[in-house]
């Protein structure tokens, strides 16, 4: 490595950062110190201010008060370009790739090598070098929009690394990854830190903190609760308590298999999929019975998104059948599906479940708006009840859905979809991006609906969670079901069924 600060030297010093948005205090005097060679975890419940802090560091936002110093130089102009030049790269919570460009073109855009574009061969070679160096596989022959979420996340990371950034800031990079992918990512981070990078990583997964990070800062409602502590000095309980407050800490650390009455095999099949072929799916069959929760596990990119599209009626099966109570699903219009009792919790809530610029009360009615609507006041009163019931933190039913944090937006979707007793629930990553507390609430609600008779298909990324809720787990690999498992679940066997497909996953093709 070149001359410069030695391992452990402070490279980023943020002190007394304040940031308000209107009446919301996002950050209320937060310090953050990043050091060379260290991975610094930033934790906090949804809306705690983590993203805001990192956006300020990356020049995408500016603090109302407080100082930022990078490599000892005081930052006086908050500007993304300047931040990049000073060696800071941010991988944002939401993707910031240009979807129509290829992976290598995205890299070029981030780090132009001059006025003229190099040949595409040279670009590809450069990408290959990066892929080899960091072990993060990404395809280059398709536009980024055609990559799986995991691949996009890897590309985001490669792009940050390509900038030769000394300071890497990762905002919930593992939220969209499977456990295996998350482990791999952490390993890469470790290596980078060992190479002398300073890394800040936001995560909701405590395991990751204790497995791979050096220091931790925990925010709660914009206030620093734990500041710059060594991970080794803390227990899981300490961190969990700091995040969510003491009263609910227990739930967080010890989520266990909820005793679930094994459903009678004689119960009626509500959701029936037979030899379905669509997109990556090459002949998937599965049945979900009344009162049953079927988990779908697998490495991201093995057909989950096609399964979701199929079960939500977005695409018809190319062959085979998808039936709800014996009726072909694709023949039912959205509202008819709902009338059949189908609830759908999509993996991308902002695309498929919410109309963000519309009011929260409108969003609660989406899919079941009567021909002539109630007066506004009636609608809002009903919506307010529901928001309280589902603990959706908002400015009220007249606020727009766009103003909700990711977790509260998800709760809003659930409040709508799980209202009443749905017959069939298609739940895709229902706890993605939620803080542990919120995730727990949602798991509970789904279990209650299941106990009430709903047939639940749960596509998940975290194995622990799937183990906790599922009556059966199917592993999706390379577009097909590579294994069906009953409790007690055999982690090793499931891992094998999944890793089987690791060899054939898109990145390696």
């Amino acid at each position: 490595m070149t001359e410069g600060p030695a391992r452990g030297d402070v490279v980023v010093e943020m002190t007394g950062i304040h940031r308000r948005f209107g009446s919301t205090v996002a950050l209320d005097g937060v310090d953050l110190t990043l050091r060379k060679g260290e991975i610094h975890a930033v934790l906090g419940a949804n809306g705690a201010g983590k993203t805001t802090l990192m956006r300020i560091l990356a020049g995408l936002d500016s603090p109302d008060q407080g100082e930022v110093a990078v490599d000892g130089h005081h930052v006086d102009q908050f500007d993304p370009g300047a931040a990049r030049r000073s060696g800071i790269a941010l991988v944002q919570q939401h993707f910031t790739l240009v979807p129509t460009l290829s992976a290598s073109e995205n890299l070029l855009l981030a780090r132009p090598l001059g006025r003229l574009r190099p040949s595409s061969r040279r670009l590809r070679r450069h990408l290959d070098e990066l892929v080899d160096r960091f072990g993060l596989a990404v395809r280059d022959d398709v536009p980024v929009s055609a990559l799986s979420v995991g691949e996009q996340q890897r590309l985001e990371l490669l792009r940050a690394l390509d900038a030769n950034a000394e300071i890497l800031v990762l905002d919930e990079p593992t939220a969209v990854l499977t456990d295996a992918e998350a482990d791999q990512l952490l390993a890469v981070c470790r290596r980078l830190a060992d190479d002398g990078h300073a890394i800040a990583i936001i995560t909701h997964r405590l395991g990751e903190v204790f497995a791979g990070c050096d220091r931790v800062t925990v925010l709660r409602a914009g206030l620093p609760i734990i500041e710059d502590a060594h991970v080794s000095d803390l227990s899981r309980g300490d961190v969990a308590t700091a995040m969510v407050g003491s009263e609910s800490a227990g739930v967080l650390v010890a989520r266990e298999h909820v005793p679930h009455e094994t459903p009678d095999a004689a119960r009626p099949v509500r959701l029936h999929v037979a030899d379905a072929v669509a997109g990556r799916l090459s002949g998937v069959s599965l049945d979900v019975r009344e009162g049953e929760i079927v988990g779908i596990a697998g490495v991201d990119g093995n057909g989950q998104s096609d399964l979701e599209a199929l079960l939500s009626g977005r695409i018809p099966p190319e062959s085979g059948r998808v039936e709800i109570d014996g009726q072909p699903l694709e023949a039912l219009h959205p509202r008819a599906r709902r009338a059949e009792g189908v609830a759908y919790i999509p993996s991308d809530r902002y695309r498929h479940a919410l109309v963000r610029p519309m009011e929260i009360s409108d969003n609660l009615e989406l899919g079941r708006v009567p021909a002539i609507r109630q007066p506004r006041s009636t609608r809002e009163a009903a919506a307010a009840e529901r928001l309280i019931e589902w603990d959706v933190r908002s400015a009220g039913p007249a606020a727009r859905a766009a103003s909700l944090s990711g977790g509260n937006a998800q709760k809003l979707v659930l409040a709508r979809e799980l209202d009443g007793v749905p017959g069939v629930v298609v739940a895709c990553y229902p706890t993605r991006g939620l803080d542990p507390n919120a995730a727990e609430t949602i798991v509970e609600r789904l279990l209650i609906r299941s106990a009430e008779g709903a047939a639940v298909l749960w596509i998940g990324a975290e194995l622990d969670e799937l183990f906790a809720v599922s009556d059966r787990i199917l592993v999706l690999a390379n577009g097909g079901v590579s294994g069906t498992f009953q409790p007690p679940f055999d982690r090793a066997a499931i891992g094998l069924a999944m890793t089987d497909s690791e060899l054939t996953r898109p990145a390696a093709s």
Binding site: V98, L108, L116
Partner: protein, 290 residues
């Protein structure tokens, strides 16, 4: 019928196509960057008038082209001030600019030239030179978009402005420049009409060619090569319909007049699935918005 598809028809198609093609290249640049330039027709007309007055005053049609380009670019810059910097609604502002240019050129033309007489003629530039210029423009745009980093950034600004911004590019500057260049091309297109095949100016001389250019960009799926082909096809449809009218036929002439538009419509349908609209087209960029 044998007089319909001849070399003459093809050169007629070229003459009809060139102003539209050049303006369409301009529309393409703006749209690739995310700005819907509905002021295109107005910029063409302003360019046409500027070219005419410059050529008339200096005696050189080539200076006319320069004048048209400069004025087109200025109008483009003004539009950018409203829609990029000011984030005003691109549809209304663009249409208003077109109307404004129509009124302004009419007023100036009337005041400068036409009271009590027929406006003077200007020297003309030959077709081969116009073709060469058009090809140069096409090559320049293609090269810029495909081979330069700035071209990549421009396209990206029309697809994912927030991503481009986060990488430290200036989305506003990129779009302003693109809109100005768009105006320059449109102005040049108008100038090439007046200093090329016509050698004169009359009110509303561009007669809707800017709108056709906008249609061609969509038809072309925002690809320069297809813009050229689309413009030529449109010119050909017009050249052919005018010649078909001369043949003995029982078909009402209105069918022929509508022919280029029917052809465009069919081409649009055939091509539609293949095109990809820039995702941020028409959406003002605000850092930090959703």
């Amino acid at each position: 019928m044998d007089n319909v598809l001849t070399l003459d028809t093809l050169t007629a198609a070229l003459r009809l196509a060139i102003p539209v093609a050049v303006a369409a290249l301009g529309a393409l640049i703006a749209e690739r960057s995310g700005v819907l330039n509905l002021g295109l027709e107005g910029m063409m007309l302003s360019g046409a008038f500027a070219a005419y007055s410059t050529a008339e005053a200096t005696g050189s049609p080539w200076l006319g082209l320069v004048g048209g380009t400069v004025v087109g670019a200025s109008v483009g810059l003004l539009l950018a001030a409203f829609v990029v910097v000011g984030r005003a609604n691109q549809i209304v502002t663009g249409i208003s600019f077109t109307l404004l240019a129509g009124f302004a050129t009419a007023l100036l033309f009337q005041q400068e030239y036409s009271i009590g007489g027929i406006p003077p003629r200007i020297d003309r530039i030959d077709l081969p030179a116009l073709v060469a210029l058009t090809i140069a423009g096409f090559a320049g745009v293609t090269w810029f978009l495909r081979r330069t980093t700035a071209g990549l950034a421009l396209t990206a600004a029309g697809e994912a402005p927030e991503a481009v911004d986060a990488l430290g590019y200036r989305v506003g500057v990129t779009r302003t420049a693109a809109t100005a260049v768009s105006g320059a091309f449109a102005g040049l297109g108008g100038a090439m009409l007046v200093c090329g095949p016509l050698g004169l100016f009359i009110e509303n001389v561009t007669a809707g060619r800017g709108w056709v250019a906008l249609a061609i960009v969509v038809f072309a799926g925002w690809r320069p090569s297809l813009v050229m082909i689309g413009a030529f096809l449109f010119g050909l449809a017009d050249a052919v319909q005018l010649r078909l009218q001369g043949t003995d036929t029982a078909i009402p002439y209105e069918v022929f007049i509508a022919l280029p538009y029917i052809v465009t419509l069919i081409a649009l349908v055939v091509r539609a699935r293949a095109s990809h609209t820039p995702a941020a087209l028409g959406v003002p960029f605000v850092r930090g918005a959703v």
